[in-house]
């Protein structure tokens, strides 16, 4: 991209600036389009799950429904409550949208890579964590108790679920040895298109995926974690006092966050744009974008599915779930990741000659050993933590009857 613009301008910095602006524009445009697609998927999907049609009047299959609604929303009057804090009220959607869009800077669309920074994974998490600020701003500036409550809930939830989210990514970063998103995707590349090299197909990656996916649902305020905007309790949470264009921005940010979550999950756990033929020079790029979108939209459909199936959690259950279920699992997963690395990468010369001592120095055997060991640890940990959570909440300990 930069080379192209350099050819046109001949000036280095102008080319850089223009290429960045181009990329940003592309992301914004593509983001809006994707958001429209997502709302359509969601409403149609929910409709079929609930045995009704969903939007089906505007355009074929109701495909143009989002456009109609966008026009409607934009033309509405922009209202700010009288006692609201005007500037903060105005800036809150901007902050939320900005943090969401900033995360797209490092998410590769297949083989199209906007920026590759060497702390990409952490960057995504950090930048999308900023949207909590926006939520709190929105909730507080509206001068409405439902909005404030929704904002507080949203922040508490986001901060709590950020921890398992980051910790589950730590195991992936340990596996890969780099925080660059491109490296993470590259690590799952298999020349023969073997999907078993995706992270999700290792025990470590699977548990990491479970934790990350659930925590990300909460981060993105998807059902069943949509307490901040629970319409039956809080009207619309921090979005109560927003209307017109500002509401549209919030809505856009919400769906962009969801798409970012799906994209990151697809990249980190499902191999991103990898697939058969994705390394062919020109066509491969198109193919990889296709794979990437297919995986991401598939994951989004899982989100819709979850929304259609799982009821909303109570706020204290939600907190317990983060701190007592996801967090221990993420920690155990880090432990088993280190074991995995120890078994696979280290040899006798590092003082960890497990595989050699068992008479299996080959790499396949090492992987097998590591697979079995970590699978056992993770499964045991999963059921143990689940059992602890199941028993702890209900009853306290009772001494077992004395053995006879």
């Amino acid at each position: 991209m930069r080379a192209m613009w350099e050819f046109f301008f001949g000036v280095g910095w102008l080319a850089t600036l223009t290429s960045y602006l181009t990329i940003t524009t592309a992301i914004l445009v593509a983001g809006s389009l994707v958001m429209m697609l997502l709302t359509w998927i969601e409403r149609r999907g929910l409709g079929y799950m609930q045995d009704r049609k969903g939007p089906n009047r505007v355009g074929p299959f109701g495909l143009f429904q989002p456009i109609a609604e966008a026009i409607k929303t934009i033309t509405k009057e922009d209202i700010t409550p009288t006692d609201a804090d005007r500037w903060v009220h105005f800036l809150a959607p901007v902050v939320i949208l900005a943090s969401t869009v900033a995360a797209f800077a490092v998410i590769p669309w297949g083989n199209l890579i906007p920026v590759d920074i060497n702390v990409g994974v952490l960057y995504i998490v950090a930048v999308s964590a900023v949207h909590t600020v926006g939520i709190l701003m929105a909730g507080w500036a509206s001068n409405n108790k439902f909005a404030l409550l929704g904002g507080m809930r949203g922040v508490a939830q986001a901060i709590s679920y950020e921890i398992p989210q980051v910790l589950s990514l730590v195991s992936i970063v340990m596996l890969v040895g780099s925080m660059s998103v491109v490296d993470v995707i590259q690590n799952q590349m298999d020349p023969y298109g073997n999907i078993l090299s995706w992270h999700i197909f290792t025990p470590v990656g699977l548990l990491s995926f479970i934790v990350f996916w659930i925590a990300s649902l909460a981060e993105g305020e998807r059902p069943p974690f949509d307490n901040p905007e629970a319409e039956s309790e809080l009207v619309a949470g921090y979005m109560t006092e927003y209307g017109g264009m500002k509401f549209a921005v919030l809505f856009l940010a919400n769906y962009l966050t969801n798409f970012a979550i799906c994209a990151v999950t697809a990249g980190v756990f499902l191999g991103g744009g990898n697939g058969p033929g994705s390394d062919i020079p020109i066509l491969g790029t198109l193919l990889s974008v296709f794979y990437f979108l297919a995986k991401s939209l598939g994951l989004f459909f899982v989100m819709v599915w979850i929304r259609g199936v799982v009821p909303r959690l109570r706020i204290d259950e939600l907190m317990h779930f983060a701190w007592k279920f996801l967090l221990p699992l993420a920690l155990v997963n880090i432990f088993s990741t280190s074991l995995w690395i120890a078994i696979i990468r280290w040899g006798a010369e590092q003082g960890m000659g497990i595989a050699e001592a068992l008479g299996a120095p080959g790499s396949i055997a090492r992987i097998a050993v590591a697979w079995v060991v970590t699978a056992i640890i993770n499964v045991v940990a999963f059921f143990l933590v689940a059992r602890l959570n199941a028993t702890r909440g209900v009853t306290t300990y009772q001494a077992t009857p004395t053995a006879v």
């Binding site: 003082g351 000659g353 143990l384 077992t400 004395t402």
Partner: protein, 794 residues
């Protein structure tokens, strides 16, 4: 399979079991699960350890060692290459040729500035032997505990077996870690962990006052030794700059360093080697319970019997001897230190053997026997018999573990007859004729007994004989003194063991009319059972009634501060036990379950056979595997002296004969006098009271502390307080005078002064606003001032 590469798993397995049990026992409060986890971990460790031993014996230690410290490799150097480079040990007629080949691996542990501490493991010949011994004995003890602790449910409803298994797993893990450690720092950490575990386990029944007292005593007594040992380590570290075992540059057995230690003179005119050795030896004195600090070991009988076995055979006391064996290159640089070691060992040997003659508690006899045997080992190390000391350590571990587990089995059986009262169930006068009830226990116990007594062809004979032969073969005064002492001690050993065997396994069974508990010797003091409103001064009838009412009551420890009349209620007293045993009517002692007899059989095999590892040549006859141990340890094989061996055999047989003659018909009833007591009451009383050492300590150190405190109190109350009071009175007087002067002379001026002070104070008070920001502003104003001065005033 390369077992050496897996050696780090050996301590980690029991440690993992400990962690597992600790964290998951709240979930699965089950003896079976926690015990099985520990036992399986130990079983794998046994396989690995014996694999290491076989690999070491067959293939040697490979091409030296590799040390792979990840980032700090260069700082650490080339690891431990200890290829028999220890040729210098020729001081004081002691011959020692280094530890032979070694295999070690280490990784960087903590980088603190310029120094990097490494953690790793080192396997050489003694380590391989110790590993095999500790894991095997530990495994047997774990398995035994499964049976022995099965009914331990005190307080009622709390199964504490999980805790027990986690503790002994940690105990074994720390011992194994200590054996494998490749530097003294890790060694010391594991050493201290062991101290902690001994505290936890001796005080396992912490609700018995005697138990927690014993635990405290053990902890504090060994701590005295450990402090000295730590000082020794500090000293060594200042001299060597490292605590890693090995002969390479920068490691503690480096010949140049040892030479320097030998020549350097420090306080009291000692050489540095002497000082370090004696300080380290203090650690041994504490842990291995040598003479001045031996008092904790007999009291440690308060713990459950498997714990006693663990402490006495595999772990704790062996650790002390192993410490000396491990740092032997430093000891041989100092003749003084070796002499001290030999003297302490020999004295402990005979001293403890004498006490053991007059004890009645089956476990106490064994405890003093352990003391005595440890004296043998320490003396062997002191006179230069490094192989002999290690050899005796190994054989002793097997037969003493066997004897302790056997005694545990006996006690377990006795409890069916006399109830869960250690005062009754452990008193040998209440036993007798147990051979008829407990066949396997009897047989295995006999093997252990013969080994300990030093009867030929049993393991104890070979190792003890080697020690005695070494002492005799030394040929100087020290050697002869040690030889004489140890000979007498082995005679006594045979005597008191025969006494025990005769009283316990032969004669009539006396358990149905047990001795009333002597309040002087009541080890188990008062413990209320779980009834909340329990009257401490309860009568036996109340006791029995309350026990009758509580069918689910587990092991009960009650005060039986009374009389023979209580004997009638014995059946009721152990109602709870009967519950656990399925209400059998005939309360006879019974054989233990298989979990307890199988370890006995395993250990009996080794107690018999371990001696053949270092069988000497007798009269020119070649045996297969002759001097295997010496060759494995790469030391010169000791010469066999038929005269010494003959004398030793004769002494053993004489001790056995004497014991048999004296105790053949003794104790028709449980209340009878001991025959020895009947003949020599004065001597017997002294021995029975352990030479009054505990009383001596109480009368000297304890009383001194008490007096010292009182003196301080007196000083404080009279001198200090007196001074204060005097000053006060003086002040009052002065004030009176002052008042007069003031009132009539200075009144006006003082008033003015006071007013001035008040005004000034009021002004100054304004600066103390109590507002944090004022203070902050002042601080930064000060910073500003300093910066100005710094910049412009010079």
């Amino acid at each position: 399979m390369d077992f050496f590469a897996l050696a780090w798993l050996i301590p980690l397995l029991p440690l993992g079991a400990f962690v597992f049990i600790t964290f998951f026992s709240p979930l699965y409060r089950s003896r079976i699960i926690s015990g099985s986890v520990a036992i399986v971990a130990m079983l794998i460790a046994v396989v690995l350890a014996w694999g290491i031993l076989f690999q070491a014996a067959s293939a040697g230690f490979g091409a030296g060692s590799e040390s792979h410290a990840a980032p700090a490799e260069a700082a650490h150097g080339e690891g431990t290459v200890a290829e028999g480079a220890e040729g210098e040990g020729e001081h004081g007629g002691v011959h020692f040729e280094g530890f032979g080949g070694a295999y070690s691996q280490s990784i960087a542990w903590a980088a603190t500035g310029t120094t990097t501490f490494n953690v790793g493991y080192l396997i050489d010949a003694p380590v391989a032997l110790m590993l095999a011994m500790v894991t095997l004995a530990g495994f047997c003890i774990h398995l035994f505990s499964m049976g022995y602790m099965a009914h331990d449910e005190y307080p009622a409803g709390h199964e504490r077996q999980s805790r027990f298994f986690s503790f002994i797993a940690l105990f074994t893990a720390s011992m194994l870690g200590m054996v494998l450690a490749d530097n003294l720092l890790l060694f010391f950490i594991c050493w201290e962990l062991m101290g902690l575990c001994s505290y936890l386990l001796i005080g396992f029944w912490y609700f018995k006052p005697s138990a927690y007292r014993a635990a405290r005593k053990a902890f504090i007594t060994t701590r005295i030794g450990d402090v000295f040992m730590m000082l020794g380590l500090f000293y060594l570290y200042t001299q060597a700059g490292s605590l890693t075992f090995g002969t390479a540059e920068g490691q503690i057995f480096n010949p140049a360093l040892l030479e320097r230690l030998h020549n350097q003179t420090t306080f009291f005119g000692m050489s540095a080697a002497t000082a370090i050795s004696l300080l380290i030896f203090m650690g041994t004195v504490g842990k291995s319970a040598q003479f001045p600090l031996h008092v904790w070991l007999p009291d440690a009988m308060e713990g459950p019997t498997p714990v006693s076995a663990l402490i006495h055979a595999a772990t704790m006391v062996a650790a002390g001897v192993f410490l000396v064996a491990r740092t032997y290159p430093i000891f041989i640089e100092s003749e003084t230190a070796l002499t001290v070691v030999a003297a302490v060992g020999a004295f402990t040997a005979i001293f403890a053997a004498l006490i053991a003659v007059a004890q009645f508690d089956i476990k106490r006899i064994l405890a003093y026997s352990t003391l005595s045997q440890l004296g043998f080992m320490v003396a062997a190390l002191g006179i230069g018999g490094w192989v002999a000391g290690l050899f005796h350590l190994l054989t002793h571990a097997f037969f003493k573990a066997l004897l302790f587990l056997g005694s545990g089995s006996v006690i377990h059986g006795m409890e069916a007859a006399v109830g869960h009262d250690p005062n009754k169930a452990q008193d040998i006068r209440n036993m007798g004729g147990l051979r008829r009830f407990m066949g396997v226990t009897w047989l295995t116990y006999m093997i252990g007994y013969l080994a300990l007594a030093g009867v030929p062809f049993f393991s104890g004979f070979f190792s003890k004989d080697e020690i005695i032969a070494d002492a005799f073969g030394r040929g100087d005064t020290l050697g002869y003194v040690v030889y004489g002492t140890l000979s007498v001690a082995s005679l006594l050993t045979a005597f008191y063991m025969t006494r025990q065997i005769m009283v316990v396994f032969y004669g009539p069974f006396r358990g149905f009319q047990p001795r009333p508990v002597d309040p002087q010797q009541d080890y188990s003091e008062a413990v209320p059972v779980e009834t909340p409103a329990h009257d401490p001064a309860h009568s036996p009838a109340v006791t029995s009634a309350s026990h009758g009412a509580h069918d689910s009551t587990a092991k009960t420890y009650t005060t039986h501060a009374t009389t023979a009349a209580h004997g009638a209620t014995a059946h009721d007293t152990h109602g709870g036990h009967g519950d656990a045993h399925g209400h059998h009517e005939a309360h006879e002692p019974h054989e233990s379950p298989w979990q307890m007899t199988v370890p006995l059989i395993i250990l009996a095999l080794f107690a018999f056979g371990a001696g053949y590892a270092n069988i000497p040549e007798v009269a020119g006859i070649e045996f297969p595997g002759q001097h295997w141990l010496s060759h494995f340890l790469q030391q010169e094989a000791a010469e066999f002296n038929i005269l010494v061996a003959g004398i030793a055999t004769l002494l053993s047989l004489a001790g056995i004969g004497l014991g048999y003659a004296m105790y053949r018909g003794a104790f028709a009833r449980a209340t009878d006098l001991d025959p020895l007591e009947a003949r020599m009451p004065g001597l017997f009383r002294i021995l029975n009271n352990k030479f009054y050492i505990d009383e001596l300590y109480a009368a000297t150190i304890g009383r001194f502390t008490n007096w010292f405190g009182r003196g301080l109190s007196f000083f404080d109350r009279n001198v200090v307080d007196g001074t204060v009071n005097g000053v006060g009175v003086g002040s009052l007087l002065l004030a009176k005078i002052n008042f007069i002067i003031d009132d009539y002379v200075l009144n006006q001026g003082a008033d003015n002064l006071a007013e001035g002070t008040a005004i000034t104070g009021d002004g100054l008070r304004q600066t103390t606003t109590g507002k944090i920001q004022d203070y902050g502003a002042l601080i930064f104003a000060g910073v500003l001032l300093i910066a100005l001065i710094y910049l412009y005033a010079f």
